[in-house]
Each structure stands twice: as C-alpha cells, then as structure tokens.
C-alpha cells in the first residue's frame, strides 16, 4: 500500500480543481441575493457525498438547507463519528481590497486565496475527500460516519438546532468532529479546548425625523452620529474593560495552571502585531494577548453608518446613526443576557433627546471542552504522525456557536481539529488556506480513521 502522502501527490491537481469549483460558488448566507448560490453549494456537497456512497439528503429549512450524509455499515459495535462543517461563507466586501477576486480561487506563494478557503469550505472539503479516498481504496470505512453540512453558520445557525432535534435519532454518535479552526502556528498541530461565544446587536439612534442642514439646525438639535459615538465610547473604560454594569458577573476565571499553559505557548507577539499591520496591540489591562483573545470577553464595534459618507463635504445633521456591535463571550456568560445588560446601560447613559434601540442579530454560547476520550486520543496520535510533533491545546477567540448545541442535543464530546493557519484573513479580504495543508489535512484524517480502527 502506498502512503497517503504518495497517493495524494498523484491527485494533487484534481484535488485543487474540485475544491476551486466549490469555492467559486458565492454561497454568502447573509445576503438574500445569494440564496440560489447557497443552494448550489448545498447541492455540490450532496452530490459529492452521494458519489462517495453516502445516503444523502439535502434537507430544507426555513433558511438555507442542511446536507445530511450517512454511511452506517461499519458493523455491530463500531463507533459512529459525526462530521460537521458549513458550506456558507461570509460576505466578501470590501471587494476592492482583494488581490484576486474572492470567488475566483488562486494559489500564490503557497497560499490558496478565496472566500471560504479556510472558513469553512476548504476544511469541509478535506473531510469529503478523506471519506472518498477511503471508500475508493477500501470500499468501506472503519467507523460509521454521519456528515452534517449546514449553510447558515455565518448568520448564527438559526436552523441547525431545530434540525438536530428533528433528526436526533439518525445523528446518534460517539463524537463530533469539526474542522473550522486554525493551528496554533505553522508546523504546530493543535486541538481546540475552548471557544468564545457571541452576542451580536445593532444599536440605532434617532434624533430628528430626517436629516437636517447642519448650519441651520446644528448646535440646537441632537445629532444622532454624535450621540452614537458617545454611547459607543461609554462601552469601555480607560483600562480597556467593558464598562457595561454586570458584564463580567458570570465570567469564569481560568485557574493558574491553565493561564500558565497559555503563557508557555511559543507565541510571537511582535510577529502577531506585524501580521495585523497595527501600530500596536491594545486590550484589557492585566492580561496577555493570548488571554485577551481566548479567555477574556470583548466588545467590538463591527460597523458604523450615519449621515453622508460619499465624496466631498455634505453639511448634514444626521437624523439616524447605526452601529453593529458584537460581544465575544467566555464561560459562563449568557448570550441571552448580554443585550439586556446593554439596553439597561444605554438607557442610563443616553440623553433623553434621542431614541435608542438595540436590535438582536444573533448569538452563540461560549464553550470549554474536556480534552480526553478515545477519539481525542486517536486525533492526537494522527496529528503527531502527520506533523511529526504532539499537538498543543489552544483556545480560540472566534465562535462556533453550535459546538455547545451538539454537546447538549447529542450528548457526545466535540473535537475541534483545525488545519487553517493564523493570519489567514477569515472574514476579511484575501482569505487564504495553506496550499500544502490540502494534502496534510487529508493525510491526518486518513491516519485518524486508521487510529480509530486500530
């Protein structure tokens, strides 16, 4: 038998061609004009699973479909893995900041550039190909496998929990594997042990009924943009802490050992800063950069819009101002509670001359997993074989809100096994996936199935 490495090298061109096809579909779940594209991406995944020998359904939901693939012929007593991924992607704007167009994949300097290359089409594809290769060479899998691929992850997975509940019986499994995360560093394989949660809102301020002339009315009529800026400024104190009363009440504090383990990771802070291009790093006083990213909650302004933003000078007194604001949460903060705390805070600080409204967009629970069990151990060994060193345990600042849903509904541990790299521009222009990790990722998954069988 050839090693996975050798056989993969032979099919490298086809591997990329197929992935490019997948990435070319602009499956932007947040934009209604891409509804059909999202459906096309679902069908693409469904066709692939069907061709591999999976019983496959593209399940309609009130939003975008869930693709469900099942192969349960591993025999009595064989464990079942559930593989989750998402085939939808973030909006690609601003388009003019992409070096090559977001939906025309291109490899440059060992990086595969495309919207969704890492998050998450590229990583979902690793699983689809590993299954296909195994079925192709062995005619069977060593374990039962269920694949769940959704199309609403980037808009908060509103249909996934209902799906998990409706299909509960067919989703029974011993572990859930998700590849939607990153390695700690190039050459350093990683298993994720915590994720931050999310509460995402819009804050709307309305002053006058409609925009006014800033000369004729300025100085006497409330300016929605000015008020919004002052409200946003009230969300942090001078130490970079979130200044909303009650915000930290439920925050679980990591113990000294866990913080020491984070402190011991080979983290290049200056390299991290350089990669972002920011003149300096900035955050909550009393915590290091990795702690600020993994174990501390945040409040971020994600978007601002008010008044006149086109070319030139329009002397308008804006009637309306909008901010998109999101909070990254850590255990045991409750994403349902955060918008209420925000509302109470804004009511207390907003001037009575304007109307302030908080609209909830979506949210997800923070998560901390237990790094143990047979699937965790098999993944540890597979990563060690593939990358030549033991994986490190990391946290992740981003959210995969459905992780805790899987644990809750299916009662199975979740394993987060990511092949992306830091700085791969998730949710930003020029998103990329390390080209060599196409083979490395599939190889690791093939080892994983071997380790599970062994």
């Amino acid at each position: 038998m050839t090693t996975p490495d050798e056989s993969l090298a032979r099919i490298g061109a086809r591997l990329r061609e197929e992935l490019f096809d997948f990435l070319r579909i602009p499956s932007v779940s947040a934009r209604s004009e891409h509804r059909e594209d999202v459906r096309r991406a679902a069908d693409w995944v469904g066709r692939h699973l069907r061709a591999t020998g999976f019983e496959t359904e593209v399940v309609d939901t009130p939003g975008h479909p869930v693709v469900l693939g099942e192969w349960k012929k591993a025999g009595p007593g064989a464990p079942t893995l559930l593989i989750y991924g998402h085939y939808d992607v973030q909006p690609a704007e601003p388009l003019d900041l992409w070096t090559s167009p977001p939906f025309e994949p291109e490899i440059r300097d060992g990086r595969l550039y495309a919207r969704g290359a890492t998050d998450d089409k590229g990583q979902l594809y690793l699983h689809l190909k590993a299954l296909e290769l195994l079925m192709g060479s062995e005619g069977r899998l060593p374990v039962n496998v269920v694949v769940v691929a959704e199309g609403e992850e980037e808009i908060g997975s509103p249909s996934l929990l209902p799906f998990l509940r409706d299909y509960r019986d067919r989703l029974d499994c011993d572990a859930v594997i998700i590849s939607d995360s990153q390695m700690f560093a190039p050459g350093v394989p990683s298993l994720l042990s915590s994720l931050r949660g999310l509460a995402y809102v819009e804050i709307h301020v309305q002053g006058a009924r409609s925009d006014l002339h800033s000369g004729a009315y300025g100085g006497a009529v409330p300016n929605a943009a000015t008020v919004l800026a002052r409200l946003l400024a009230s969300l942090h104190d001078a130490d970079g802490r979130v200044a909303i009363p009650g915000f930290y009440d439920r925050v679980a504090h990591w113990d000294a050992e866990a913080r020491a383990a984070i402190g011991g990771l080979p983290f290049d802070e200056e390299g991290f800063r350089e990669e972002t291009g920011a003149p300096g790093l900035q955050g909550e006083a009393g915590y290091g950069t990795l702690e600020r990213l993994w174990i501390r909650p945040t409040c971020e302004v994600n978007g601002l819009l008010s008044g006149y933003t086109g070319e030139g000078a329009k002397t308008v007194l804006p009637a309306r101002a909008m901010a998109k604001v999101s909070f990254r949460l850590v255990p045991d903060q409750d994403p349902d509670e955060i918008p209420a705390l925000l509302r109470r805070h804004l009511q207390a600080v907003a001037p009575p001359q304007v109307r302030v409204e908080v609209r909830e967009l979506h949210h997800g629970r923070p998560w901390r997993g237990a790094p143990e069990g047979p699937v965790f151990e098999a993944a540890r060994r597979a990563l060690t074989r593939s990358f030549g060193r033991e994986p490190v345990l990391t946290g992740e600042g981003g959210s995969i809100p459905i992780v805790s849903d899987f644990e809750k509904v299916l009662g199975a541990p979740v394993l987060l096994l990511g092949f992306g790299l830091p700085g791969s521009n998730l949710h930003a222009p020029d998103e990329w996936f390390p080209d060599a990790h196409l083979e490395k990722g599939i190889e690791t998954l093939l080892y994983l199935y071997e380790e599970l069988e062994g």
Copy 2:
C-alpha cells in the same frame, strides 16, 4: 400700469414651468459624475441672462463655471448692484426619503418640492425673473446690474475668490445682494445680519492593515471604529461645549443688547422642536436655541463609516473608520486655525496603537454685517411694502462663506435678503420653497428696484 402682483398672476404657470426646467438639472457639484449637469445649469443661467439683454459669459474655472452677466447702461452716476447666487445643489441622498424624486419638481400643499428649490436655484431664479420682467416692461433697469452665479457654493466655492480677483474691474459695485437665506417665519420678512463660518474635515483612523475577524483578533488588536467613537466623544464636554483646547479663544461675545434683540423675536421653540421631529432640543449650556443656532459655534458629526454596514451580522474588526466632522464658526474664529486645533487635540487623546489623520475639505469665514446704507434702506422699504410689515434682523446658522470674500475683494456691503422659510429641508430630503413666495419674491425685488430709483 398694473401692480407687479397682477402682472405676475398672469404669468404664474410659465414662471413655474421655467423654474421646473432649471430644477430638473441635477447640478450636484460634489459629485464628479454630475459634472456635465452642473455645466448645463450654468448654460441655462447664461441663456436666460442673454435673452434678458445682459452681456453674458460662462467663465471656465478649474472646477465648475461662473456665469457673469452685465447690464451697465443705467447712465452716469447710477449705482451698481451685484447679484450673487449659485446654481449648484447639495447631493440628494438618501433618495428613498424623498416623497417625490429630488429632480422632478412637484407642488404639494403650497410647497414647491425639489433639490435646490430654496438653496439656491429657486432664489437665484427670482432675481433672473425680476430683471427679465423689468427689462421687458421698461426696456431698461434703474441701476447697473452685475450677476455672478457660481456652481461650487456647495463645495466651498474654491474658484470664486480667484474669479473675483481676476474680474475685479468689471465687478465694481455699490452693494452685493444675495438671496440664499430664509425669512424668520412665515409672514415675517427678514434681513440677515450674521452668518456662521465653516471648517469641514474628515477624520480617518487606521488600526490593522485590513479588516480582521473580530473573534480571532478581537480584544487584542485596536478597533478603528471603537477608537473613532472615543475620539468623537472627546470633542464635546458634558455641557455640550466643544472640548477642543483653544476652540473658544477667538469667539466674539454678542453684547447684552444684541442678545436681548434675539431673545425678543417671536420664536416658537416647541414648534421648532416639533418641526425637527426630535424628542428634545439639546445644545451648549447657558444659551437659548436661537443663540445656539446663530451666535455660538458648534462641532457636528456629518457622517460615519466603518466596517460592515450591510444586511445581517458580519463579525469584522474594522481596520479603518471615517467621520466627516464640521465646525460652524462665529466671529472672530479663524477657519484655517480650527483643523490645526483639532489635530493637536486628537494627537493628545488618540491611543498610540492607531494612526489618525485629519483631512481638510473646505472652510468659510463667519460674518457679521452692518445693517445700514441706501441699499439696506431700500430693501427694508421693499420688504415692508411687499409683506405689510417691517423686516426683522436675524442671524443664520448656516454659512455663505463667500460673503466675507465679497466684502473684502469688492469693498462693498453685502445685503442678505432671503425668501425661504424655516423647515424647508435644506441639504435634506424633501427640500421645498413656499410656492407663493415665487410671486412675493419677484414682487419684492421689483419694489427694491423702484425704491433704488426713487
């Protein structure tokens, strides 16, 4: 001889038809895509003056043209009036807030709705028609008249001062008349004695090189939108005063008599609030609403843009954030000095982890005139005849930056004689001009020429 009133009534339909033609031209000077439209509006004015018997030139500038019309046959010793107006308009966005399209004029409930109806095409038109009617009935004018109509008023008149200097000899006059302002209230004719100046800038904040994932980077990397909000919040103190050091140093204080005159005007504060639709009025502590509008300087946010502002939730950490900010200035503040004070303030309060840049867009000097002289007296009598009551002296919160340029270059007093009404949505959706003031305005100007002759 019929009164102006009667003869005007006979040509009302044609008056409106012609004005509608003028208003239909989207002469938005701030937008390069409307360059040809601005030129068409200039040609429209030029044709009109030429048909009236004026020697007319459409003078090219580095920006939009200046229309110069001259009629200097009033005979030896006759005084010369210079009439200034502008044929360019503000951008019309947001278009969806207009009841009827901005460049399709429509009369509803006694109001003539269109972008430029009051500011300033409608009022410039009053002058063009008064001159045409006089020339038509008398074959001559009682005074020499020079008309200067520019197409860059809404972008700060960058070419006007050079034009005034280049054409200085042909612009010699005894008074300048500008109709680009409003009456104090319906039925209350007004002469303007002060204008605020303007300094308009953009503030740009840059943190990271490009937008980042707010989960993967949030909490450790500076957020340009958050920083911008905090910078904007630093521009005012809790009393609504501008908190930029040095900002008030040159502010001339109105004496008790002037403040008492303002206090004595029949101002309906609750009506003013209701007209704006704001839940309350708001401004600098220690001053009344009219004082806040006329004699106190301001700082207004005119526009905000950062990160993701489309539909749905994009978890982006914005690399860039932009605010348009303008200051209304009062004598003797210096618009050239204000951006420098702002820069110094922002340098002092901005965190070192971001780059902050202030770009100057345009500016204009504040102005206070002396309410006296033969043309002022003639206008006072003309308004009294036309409206049946003496005009009041008012201030204006907006800016007509070129007023002080005219005074400086031509050495002639400027008379501000406006026929708009409060609440006419200048620079906002649904701009309107009181339909009846088409006749009232032309009538007043015909009386003015009579009074100047008499």
